[in-house]
């Protein structure tokens, strides 16, 4: 197919039109708006870096940011540990493997919004009931403090996403050749040694994929945040995505919200690229 071919451009037109109008033009306009005082209506006036300067002294936004970072780090660790454990269980030749896999993956199909509402019920009503029944104080008042909101979000996203990460680990675990394991067994390697020296290095690329996915997913999380805590108490469990939406569509501070969105974009892009780069390098060295 040559470039001059009408067919070539005909084939590309629908997706190009959509990508340009839906992603590229808004991205460019977004950069421009972030340097103005635009409020959604009328003509924007250029105000230079003022929005960005304001961001760095905006305690609400900085707190949101810090909360998101803490959440992402905890989520990456917890989700990957659970996901890998589930994958090891499911691939260990149990008769119930298929059913287990189906069950562990199930929460992933349901939207974060619905799952957040279900867990809101569990944390408030069910935990409350368990607290009353057992007299253990730790079960009472979930989602009413910043800490319980934080761990509530971690529990919710881990329950949802561990099954997804499990699927990725399973794909790599099943690619480990059986005879390699058998040979190591005959040579007298115990199960930990076999995991450490054979399975682990072969499954290493799965960490690239999983860390990358959990990081970008947790950093961008919105639905779960909205339905589980809605930022309560006092916006202390609000994450960046939600903060941007709120300042744009509730407070109508469009240009300021857009400056946050630009920072958000740069961080997501840089982190994603770095992660891919580091993991690619490590894979080669192995």
């Amino acid at each position: 197919m040559r470039n001059r071919d009408a067919a070539y451009w005909l084939f590309l037109t629908p997706v190009l039109a959509a990508l340009i109008l839906v992603v590229i033009v808004p991205l460019i306009y977004g950069f421009y708006y972030s340097f103005t005082d635009w409020n959604g209506l009328g003509t924007p006036d250029f105000i230079g870096l003022k929005n960005y300067m304001d961001l760095f002294t905006d305690k609400g936004f900085l707190d949101t940011f810090w909360f998101t970072i803490k959440f992402s780090v905890a989520a990456i660790v917890v989700i990957n540990i659970i996901g890998l454990s589930l994958a090891l269980i499911v691939t260990s030749k149990l008769k119930s493997s298929n059913i287990l896999r189906t069950v562990f993956f199930m929460p992933n199909l349901i939207g974060g919004l619905i799952l957040g509402f279900i867990w809101q019920f569990i944390f408030i009503k069910v935990f409350g009931a368990i607290g009353d029944l057992t007299g253990i104080e730790a079960f009472n008042g979930w989602l009413s403090t910043t800490d319980t909101g934080f761990w509530g979000l971690i529990i919710l996203t881990s329950w949802q996403m561990a099954g997804y990460i499990m699927i990725i680990y399973i794909a790599y675990l099943q690619a480990v050749p059986e005879d390699l394991i058998e040979a190591a067994k005959i040579d007298g390697a115990n199960s930990f040694q076999r995991f450490r020296h054979i399975t682990f290095p072969l499954v290493a690329p799965a960490f690239t994929v999983s860390l990358f996915l959990t990081l970008s997913h947790s950093f961008k999380i919105y639905d779960q945040n909205l339905s589980l805590t809605n930022g309560a108490p006092y916006n202390s469990t609000e994450m960046v995505a939600m903060n941007i939406v709120r300042s744009a569509f509730t407070e109508n501070d469009m240009a300021y919200a857009q400056a946050k969105a630009v920072i958000f974009f740069i961080i997501v892009a840089v982190v994603s690229l770095t992660q891919v780069y580091i993991n690619k390098k490590r894979e080669v060295e192995l």
């Binding site: 470039n3 070539y8 084939f11 590309l12 997706v15 190009l16 959509a18 990508l19 109008l21 839906v22 992603v23 590229i24 808004p26 991205l27 977004g30 589930l86 149990l94 287990l100 896999r101 189906t102 069950v103 562990f104 993956f105 199930m106 929460p107 992933n108 199909l109 349901i110 939207g111 919004l113 619905i114 799952l115 509402f117 279900i118 867990w119 019920f121 569990i122 009503k125 069910v126 009931a129 368990i130 329950w159 997804y164 990725i168 399973i170 794909a171 994929v209 996915l213 961008k220 995505a241 941007i244 939406v245 744009a248 469009m254 857009q258 969105a261 958000f264 974009f265 997501v268 892009a269």
Partner: protein, 272 residues
């Protein structure tokens, strides 16, 4: 003998975890059948009297059939469009090995890095100006956000389809479009299933984009309607839980029938 014990132990741990994983669904389901006072009296046990009244009310309040239809329509049309147009684009990009093709492919892949929140504000403003904040506009937006990953996945598969197939069909007198539609597209079927599954899960569950694009009463999708519904009945858990249960049923049915393809699709989509 030791191996057998270990397998038994792993199986046991797996069983306990599976129960734990299902507990939230169990709690949602049993409490959806309880009368309001029963939820307060006993949250953990089975209902004293099973009632369908919660479901009847939730069904009515959610305008369930219409909401379900909206979700089916928007997800269905979006996914079909994404599949056909992304496959076409990936085909053009993989068969034309020029600088323009590499550049365009790079742009599509790079677009995957852009988070929704960083384009959302100008997007809504601009589509609003042109009166496109409606279902058609929403479907077009899904094409824009969904095509990148889909093109990327198709592109990988197309590399493995030999060029000689195209040429043989061309000699037989087929034009570009016929070659694609009758020869290439059928060969892409396994990938189309993967692309379809990945996109349908995302679009079906999406809340933020439709909440900004379709406001009008009567055109809400399930997550949208549920959000309003939940806000209305926030202290009335018996109704809220029945609504949640209702809205999960279509997904569970789909999962029951297609779980093999779904899990395979997810694995293919994530690993590549």
């Amino acid at each position: 003998m030791r191996g057998k014990w270990k397998l038994w132990l792993i199986g046991f741990v797996g069983f306990i975890l599976a129960l734990l994983w299902l507990t939230p669904f169990y709690l949602m389901l049993v409490n959806a059948f309880k009368m309001k006072r029963d939820i307060f009296a006993d949250t953990l046990g089975l209902p004293e009297t099973w009632t369908f009244e919660n479901f009847r009310q939730a069904y009515e309040q959610l305008d369930f059939l219409r909401t379900l239809f909206n979700s089916l329509l928007i997800s269905g049309v979006s996914v079909v469009i994404i599949i056909i147009f992304s496959a076409m684009a990936a085909y053009a990009l993989s068969r034309n090995k020029s600088k323009i093709s590499s550049l365009l492919f790079f742009v599509f892949v790079a677009a995957m890095l852009i988070p929704f929140q960083s384009v959302m504000i100008p997007l809504v403003a601009q589509f609003g100006q042109f009166g496109m904040l409606n279902k058609a506009g929403l479907i077009f937006m899904y094409l824009g956000f969904g095509c990148s990953l889909s093109i990327f996945l198709y592109h990988g598969t197309l590399k493995g389809i030999p060029l000689s197939l195209d040429e043989a069909a061309k000699i037989d007198g087929a034009n570009r479009f016929q070659v694609f539609w009758y020869i290439i597209f059928p060969l892409l079927k396994p990938m189309s299933i993967t692309v379809g599954i990945l996109n349908v899960i995302w679009i079906w569950n999406d809340y933020l984009l439709p909440s900004l694009v379709i406001g009008g009463a009567g055109s809400e999708t399930i997550p949208l309607k549920l959000f309003f519904f939940f806000g209305q009945y926030t202290k009335q858990w018996h109704l809220a839980l029945a609504g949640l249960t209702l809205s999960i049923i279509p997904v569970i049915i789909a999962y029951f029938f297609a779980q093999r393809q779904i899990i395979k699709g997810i694995a293919d989509g994530a690993v590549k």
